[in-house]
Structures are given as C-alpha cells and as structure tokens.
Symmetry: C2
Subunit: 642 residues, 2 copies
C-alpha cells in the first residue's frame, strides 16, 4: 500500500488549523427545559406572550378607583363599599364602580373598573365597608399586563448558555422545550493487544495492562461539551479494528484513537482513511504528539454489520445527524501525552462545536518553580503540577517521570506550551497552565516522602492533599528545591535541609514472614546464613536505610562489610516502592521474607519478626509554616498521636 | 390548630445554623467509572496491584544482559546472538543468556535473564546477530514492576473530586466502579392555584401565570450537586398538598417549597411538620426571605397512596437511603427572591452534603456602580447585575424592579449581602457578588434602549450581549449613570448625555391596522376624528415621542393642544412596552389601530399606514469605546447597514 507523503512535520498552528477545518458540529436538538441546564441555545427566543398576561395585584389588599382615595389619610380615611373579592387563580366575577372596593389577593386579576389597589395594612374592613387610610395614584401596586415581559420582545439570543436564571426566564414565557446545539458525538477507540478494560482480568505474565486512555479521554470529551462513545477494545486484529473504525465514523462526529502507534494499527487507519476519507496531516512538530494523525472519515461502509449505516449512502451524505462523515484524530498512547494533546488540540475545537466558552478556571497563571530546559527546534507540551507557596500564589513545576508513567497523572495538573524558539524557561518566570480540568485546583497541602500507613490515615483527614510517596531522600531533595510544603522522612539521613519539624511518630519494622513463620525466621542472621528468598524496599525508603544500618552493625561484629553481607542475601537488590509491596510477594509465595512494618504484617495477616523502631518525622519548609494546609496537617498529626 | 411560637425573627446566622443542623447527606452509592466524572470519593482507594504488573520494555529494541554491552560504542559494537522475539501482549517464550539478545517491542514483558534493553536505533540486525552500538546499565529502558504504582500504595483519598486525571489513575489500577457520595435528593413542590407548568395552557383571564421557580430551583439544585425531583403542581388544595409533602419527605433528603405564603399553604406545612417533624425556625430577619421556614419532616406516612413508605415505619427510621427523614426549607415565591434565598442559605449546605467545594467562579468581586441605601436593621439580599467597564474591571449594579418582576432574572447575575448594621454602600465600594451560577460571566456588551427589530438582529450576532429594551429616555439616564456601554435611542430627545455615536439606521413608523385596512385608516386625523380603538407605546419609547411630536404639529395646525388631541384618542394612554405589543392587540381584535413599525406590520401580516421615518442611533459611553464588545457591535452595525 502506498502512503500519502508528509515529508515535513506540520507546525502546531497547522495542526490547530487542520482540526478546525473539520466540522465537529453535531446540529440541533430539542431538549425539555428540565434537561436544558448547561446547553447552548441555537435560536433567538422571543416572548410569545405578555408577562403577566393580565393586570395583576402586587399585594394583598383592595382594588379600587384611585380618584376615590384622593385626599385620604390616617386622620381622614375614604369609605368605600365592599362589593366582592378576587383570589389568585380565579376570574374576577365583579366590577368596581365609583365608591366601591374589592378585596384582592397578591397575584390576582384586577377587576374591571379598578385602576389601583391599596395594601391591606392601610385599611380597615367590617365586611360591608372598607376604610382606606392612604391615597393612591392610578397604577399603584398594580403590575400591568406585559409590564414584565411584553409579547414580541427578544428574550434570549442564540449562543446563550442556559443557567438557572435563563431557565427561569424561559419558564416565565411558558417554554418547556428549547432548540440547543447537539453535543458532538466523539467515538473513542483503543487499540493494542496488551490493553484490558478496567474491571477485566489482567494477565501480567502476558504483559497486559489496563486501558487508561478510554475512560480518561471520555471524561475529557464530556468536560468539553461532547458526548463520549467508548467502543469495545479492538486489540491489534486488523479486520476488527477496521470494522470498529468504520462503525465509529458512521455514528460519530469525531473519532479519536489512542496508542495506535504500532505499525499494524497505523496501517489500518491509513487504509480506512485512504479508502473513505482524506488524511490532512500526519506528524506534528510537537513533543509529545509527533505521530499525531488528523483526517476525515466517511462512514456508510457496507462492512458495517450493525447496519447503522443506511444502504446506498456510501457517499456519506446521509440525513443522519452525524452525517456519516466524521473527523479523525490519532492521539499518543501514553496517558499524560494523550491528555496533553487532547487538551491542547482537540478540546478547544470540541468546545467551539458545542458552543461553550472555555471556563475561566481552565487556565491558571503561576510562577515556574524551577528552570525548564527544552530541546531546541521543537514545540513542547510540558506536563506540570500546580501548588501554592507560603503567600498563596501559584507555583508551577514540571512533572517529568518519563511519559510512560501513569503516576505522572497523580501529579500533573495541566500543560505548559513552550514554543520551538524557546529553549530555556527561567525559574520564577510567569507561565500559563492549561489545566486538564477546569475543576483542578492546587492541593491544600503538598507533601512528599515515606510511604507510611500512619501518614496515609493522616492524609485521609486533610481537605485536598497531594502526597507523593517517593521516599525520604528524594523528599529532602524536593523540599530543598522549594516545591512541596512538607517532607515525611524516616531512618538515618545523610544530609538535611532547612526545615521546621511539625511532628513525628514511631513505627516498628522488621521481617515479615508467612503465617505461622514456617521458616522459623528469628532475625537478620537467618537471611545471611540460610537460603531464604528475601524482598527489600527501594534505596529511597527509610526502612531500607535502617535495614542497611543494621547490616552495617552486623558486618562490624562479624569483621565483614555491609556489601559482602548484602551479596549473601538472595533478593537484597529487589527494592520495591511501597510499604506493602514486599509483604505481598510473601503472600504470593514469591519470597520467604520481606522487609516491612509490624502494621503491614498485621494488616495482611502475616507474621512479624521485629528488628527495631524508627521515627517518622514531618519536616515543613520554613516559608510554608503559615499555609492553612500545613496548620491542618499539624493538628491532624497531633490528633493521631493522642 | 396551635402554632409553635416564634416571637423573634431568627438572624441569618441562625438560619444558616438551622439548615446546617439538618442532615442533607444522602449516603454512599457505587457508580461505574465511566459515569464517575465530577463525583466525590467517599473512601480511600489503594492500589491493589503493581503498575506495571511486570518488568516492561520502554522502547522498541532488544532485551539483553547489560554486562554484554559494557564498552560497546559506534566504533566497536557488541555482537549478540538473536534468540527470539517478544511482542506487547504476549508471554515471553524465550530466556536471554549471556551473549544473547531478544527483539522486544514497546510495552512487552522483559524475558527472563535480560536486565536491560537497547533501543533499535542503536543497533543493526541481520536476522541472526544483533550489533549493539552503545552500552547500557542494568535497568536501562526498563520500567520495573510496581515502579509506576506499587500494590498497597495510597492512590486517592476520600473527598477527592473525580476529574479526567483521577479517572485515569483509577483506570490504571483496573478499578471500574467507585464508591462516591450519593447526590442529595431534593424534592421541589410548587403551590398556588395560579401556577401552570411551562408548556401547559395559560388562562390569563383567571390570573394564571407560568411556574418559574420549579425548573429554576431544580437547575440550581443540580448545579449544587443535588438531584432535583420536581413534584406535580399541587394547587392550593390542602389534602393534595399534604399528600405531596409527605411523599416528598419520604423520597427525598430535602424538600423545598416556594411561594407557599398563602395562609392555607402555610397551614398545611405547619400541620405536616407538627405531626411528623420539627419546626426549627419560622421567619428570618432578612429581606427578602422573611417568611422562610426551616424544619425537619419525617416520612413514612400511612397517607401515602403510592406505597413508597414501608408500613409500620412511622417513626421514620427506615433503612432506605433517604431514611424517610427529610429536611424542609420554604422559599419565597418571587423568582429572584427565591433564587437569592436558595443561593445564600440552601446551596452551601447542599454542596457540603455533596462533598463539592464552591467553584472558584461562583463569586466575583467588583466595584459598586452606584450607591445603595438599605433599610436599617434588616439583613438584605440585594439582587445585582455585573458588567465590565472600559478597563475590563467588574462593575456591580443593583437591580431593582420590585421583586415581582421576572425580568429581573434577565438582568440579575447574583446577590450581594448587606448586613443589618450597614445602611449605606458608597458608589465605588468593593463588594462580593455570589453569582446565581458559576457559569455566569459578565456580558461582552451591555446595551439599553429602544425595542427595535434591527437591533434584535444585531444582538443575535454578538458574542454574549445583555440588552434591556427600556426605551430611549431611561436608556439615556442609565448611560449617564455609567453602567451600560451603549444606549440605543430614537425619536426627539429632551436632553442628551456625553456619548460617541457609533452608528445609526432608520425605521419607518406609522399606524398598523388589520389586513385589508377594513377601517380605511389614512393617517393620524382618523384617530382624532373617528371612533377607533387605538393602542399606544410607552412614553419611554421613541415611537411614542415621535407620535406625540406629530400630534403637536397637528394641534398647532388645528389651533388646539397636544393634550386635547390626545384625550380625543380612545386608548391613547394604553402604552405598551414592546414594539410588537400594540400590533398584537390588533390581531387579537382588541384594538383597531396600533402604533408601530412597517417591519412589524409586515412580520405579523398586518397592513401599514406610514406616518414618518425616524433614526435609531447607537450612543456609546465615551469610556467604553475601546471595549471589545463595543468594537464587535460597531462592525455588526456597519454590516447591517450594507
């Protein structure tokens, strides 16, 4: 198969232009008023009736002829004859003549003959006559028909987003159904044999991982005003992928695929686009996102077994809303990259098609916490996190874990664009962050450090914390760099940084073994002298440094070196990141002994062989001590210790 | 029936406290991940598995033993034997020994024996051997199992709002259902015989009006994170109202009623609360909102014909989510008052129950455009509109049309609270507006003036205009007061204000008569000399002033006065607000001749008797000429004139 040649990568501006040139608009639909909140009107709504539709009493009181009250006051009331009553919701059965009054309730129709009303507070009544202790002018306390909204008036214009207030206006006009922009339908197709939909069974031995992008991009689509359609997972089987792609093109206004970077997936997409559409660009000079594909797909394939496509409309000019004609954009596979490309290139076009403005909270300006160097000559999308400093102003920090890490998701709040001509952003420079969600807000507390069960419980009590369990040493480094508020550290530390200690607690650590301790493990020497499979923690963990210190002492006693002892332990180099991970290997039968906490052993129903206690300390950056989230943490720590 | 006595009005703080004391929380529900966007987690989510679950190749290339590459470079590549291949999604069927390499694709499982990989770009392969032109260290280009997320790690905390990013994290962990706070169910009951649900038929002669509050408050409830249940309209029939109230108390966490100020409605509410609940307060010292009721209702009434209540659980301690126990708040009946009280007292409690923070855009700070005097001694909720001045900073202006006017809805964006001790807010003072909706934004253009069909078409082309058709004279007054950007005026003006004229067009006006002109009306003199029923426009309208000027001229010719001529016209004093309104009276057969525009006559299929032309001029406040919305208007006006 020959491929259309795209010798040069497109510029980001050309990519925006290509996506804008595709029609993502989904037409018009009529929705009941009760479901219209957040939707966008497509037509002007004029008042078809007067509001109120009749001359209406504004208060409870008496309807009368104003001239009959002229000159009346407290001292010299006018005396009128009571000739009837009108209540709200009934047609007046009486006419008001000179010298007469009619009892009337708020909202009731003014009877013929009356031209004003007096509130009940300024009157006395004995069943036959009404004493009026004030004078009124014609029209007083009456809302005339059409005074509020007059028939024929322009009420709401096209493009209006319907909030409760507009729903109120439409209600007043009696309108119970409104023409609004249909939400663009966006089909999401994930490919790749290794992907399993969340909730499914994972075979790690086969290299399977959960599909992150489908639901994530679907949520992004809905946030941008679209309607997401997640198609079944296609695997790498070409025929099935082709069938899904054609079906999605039939049914949607836009088809997004992610991770279709394998040669066979690209082949299918090329084939379908060549046969039934047009490829607008392949490859954009932006990192990440270089292999982005943008094109147009025509639906109506006879391959479609579901029969959604009307037969004979192969030219795609059907009458369906989706029109059998769909835009196509291929996104990167790595989740943060996919979100960045979606947010930068696709979401603005979707919002425009849906008629929605970008929410004011969708971008945030802040100060770059540390310098950022870029490869020259390439437009870059930099994933960043946001937090606040001691003064409450926004700090922006690049998140760089390698785009393969889904944990970047925990830390990245949005994207900063750096253009091809900029190779260096200074620390302190003001940057604009396009947030992944307008609902994103900076954490109330940003902590880094040990993975610790007590800390986890403390975090559960805080308002909106961000905590990265990266271990003690990286935590100190980050605290020094000025981004997080607190570092939670444990075990011997080689160095320290300026801090204020906010609180601490102790944890008991040792060796975790299967229930009943079948290997009869008594202490560290068993690891050295016997053939046991051990699992360690990472070198960044406080448990690991305490364990190494214990080995050091043992080595001193034995006249050996720590290094030598370590090499005698099978599995010493297997350093796992979370506090429960080694113990879970014991449960899985993959290890005999794990480094861990007494609490972990208890929690997982395993047996614990104590070695020592260590202190877990919460260190606060000196300029963050007054931050509300730090005070909240301080009281949570002290409550936890009670 | 005796009523619990509330001698003193409660303070606003006591009202907040009373509502907070009612439990609006709706418990926990489990939702599929695909529907979890915007929901709030109720429990901590820990990782139950390692991500990735296996040692994973980060690139396409070759898996090998790192020591085999030590010292290799472009000039002196290492030569390894190719022993197999592993693709993403398959279990490795091969082991890597010393001197061996295995082809591996991105995302595939590292085969046993290999501890690193080299990217394909740094290699050459001939099918049997692989030349490696670089040296790698153990672990290079490999993401180890659990390196991204380790089993047992805390992933998300309770109270986390789920945005696309969190949905990505949960997807990575394979979680497809999450425990979230259930949305508080809020029942909405509207009472009053005069109310008709939008879409129904209105009998104006009976004083019926459309029910504005039900859908408006429902939309507000949903915006605050609740689920709205709009109950059928109850009328004023006590038994039916009582039945609905009990049913709503059974089914909901909160019941809101509005406009239940009629004595009979209050009686029913009192009776139900006395029998099955507790009244916490009646009457709050706040304007509007004084008659606010706050209480607790217990469901489970045997009166409930729908049978939703389990029999025998009259004490309300059932096991249903709503618990048969509901909070109750009575809102004012006038729409803007109801919205203000809802927004001020109810929405914060609902958000708290739903676990949602107040959106950052839900309040807005601005400068008060004109002074505001308050009655002393009463806490006030002041409805305000927002707009921007020439510098783009926010201007806040009180909207005061009397609380009965639903058109306040078109202008009011939110509420400013003024406490009882403050009787005067100075112009220019900074105030905080609690917006009716976090989606509210200031209009891009704020215009006031003539109701004119050309202007309506121009407005349809603007981004987000606000236009109040209040007529020429009030428009000039408002322009002078510094709030709107433009005034659209027509007809003779007594005075003018500083302005820049942005553009103008002409409109032909005259008399509108039924098709075929059955009365053979030729001009103004027919009105004077014959017995015709006429309908006029309001004195604020430019058509009215031009018509009066014509009468003046005629009077001069006849040696009479305008006043005298006017009194000879039956219906001269019937001044209607919108440009189409008089013509619609002709259609309805209620008038023979209407003042109006040629365009209106054509549009409505009526006949037109021309009198004159008048110019409609768009006047801009001198400090607003640079506002983007004004430039947008200018080009729309000039396009309209082409």
């Amino acid at each position: 198969m020959e491929r259309k040649e795209f010798r040069d990568l497109a510029t980001p501006a050309e990519a925006h232009e290509a996506i804008r040139s595709l029609s993502l608009e989904a037409g018009i639909e009529r929705v009941p008023l009760a479901e219209a909140r957040g939707r966008v009107l497509v037509a002007r709504m004029d008042a078809e009736l007067d509001v109120p539709g009749f001359d209406r009493a504004s208060l409870d009181g008496y309807a009368l002829r104003a001239p009959d009250t002229f000159g009346a006051d407290e001292a010299d009331p006018a005396t009128l004859e009571l000739v009837g009553a009108v209540h709200a919701g009934e047609e007046p059965g009486v006419t008001v003549g000179t010298g007469e009054a009619v009892e009337i309730s708020t909202g009731a129709v003014m009877p013929d003959g009356a031209d004003a009303m007096v509130p009940v507070e300024r009157t006395d009544e004995d069943g036959e006559t009404v004493l009026v202790r004030t004078s009124v002018a014609p029209g007083d306390n009456v809302m005339f028909a059409g005074a509020d909204v007059a028939a024929g008036e322009r009420a709401l214009g096209p493009g209006t987003r319907l909030t409760p207030r507009e729903i109120g206006l439409l209600s007043a006009l009696g309108i119970d159904e409104v023409p609004v922009r249909a939400r663009p339908r966006v089909g999401i197709i994930s490919t790749g044999d290794e992907l399993v939909r969340p909730g499914g069974d994972l075979e790690s031995a086969r290299g399977e991982i959960y599909d992150v992008n489908s639901y994530t991009i679907a949520a992004g689509v809905e946030e941008a005003g679209g309607e997401a359609v997640v198609y079944p997972h296609a695997g790498d089987e070409q025929a099935e992928m082709e069938r899904l792609l054609r079906q999605a093109a039939d049914e949607c206004d836009l088809v997004l695929s992610s991770g279709s970077t394998s040669a066979s997936a690209v082949d299918v997409i090329y084939r379908v686009i060549e046969e039934q559409g047009e490829l607008l660009l392949h490859g954009v000079s932006v990192k990440p996102g270089k292999p982005m594909l943008v094109g147009r797909l025509e639906g109506g394939s006879s391959n479609d077994p579901a029969g959604e496509a009307s037969s004979g409309s192969v030219d795609g000019e059907g009458s369906s809303v989706a029109g059998g004609n769909s835009a196509y954009v291929g996104l990167p596979g790595y989740p943060v990259s996919a979100m960045m490309v979606f947010r930068t290139f696709v979401a603005p076009a979707l919002r425009e098609a849906a008629g929605l403005p970008e929410p004011e909270t969708a971008t945030r300006t802040g100060r770059l916490a540390r310098e950022e160097r870029s490869e020259q000559g390439r437009h870059r999308l930099v994933p960043v996190g946001i937090t606040t400093d001691g003064d409450g102003s926004t700090l922006v920090y690049p998140v760089d874990k390698g785009s393969g890490a889904t944990t970047s998701l925990a830390e990245a709040d949005g994207v900063v664009e750096v253009d091809a001509d900029t190779d260096y952003l200074e620390a302190g420079e003001t940057v604009e962050v396009r947030l992944f969600s307008p609902d994103s807000r900076p954490p109330t507390l940003f902590g880094v450090g040990e993975d610790d069960p007590t800390m986890n419980r403390i975090l559960d009590r805080l308002e909106h914390p961000r905590y990265l369990a990266i271990g003690s040493r990286p935590a100190l480094r980050r605290l020094r760099d000025g981004v997080p508020d607190v570092a939670v550290v444990a075990g011997p530390l080689e160095r320290t940084v300026d801090h204020v200690e906010l609180g601490s607690w102790t944890r008991e650590w040792g060796l975790i073994v299967p229930p009943g301790n079948p290997g009869d493990v008594q202490g560290v020497f068993d690891l050295l002298d016997r053939d046991l499979r051990f699992v360690n923690r990472t070198t960044d963990s406080g448990l690991r440094t305490s364990f190494d210190a214990t080995l050091e002492t043992t080595a001193d006693r034995r006249g050996s070196s720590r290094r030598e002892l370590a090499s005698a332990i099978a599995g010493y180099d297997i350093g796992l990141r979370a506090h429960e991970s080694p113990a879970r290997r014991v449960i899985a039968g993959e290890a005999d002994v794990a480094l861990g906490l007494r609490e972990t052993a208890t929690h997982l129903g395993l047996e614990f062989v104590p070695i020592d206690e260590q202190s877990v300390r919460v260190l606060v950056a000196p300029d963050r001590t007054d931050k509300p989230g730090v005070s909240e943490l301080e009281s949570a720590v002290s409550q936890m210790n009670q």
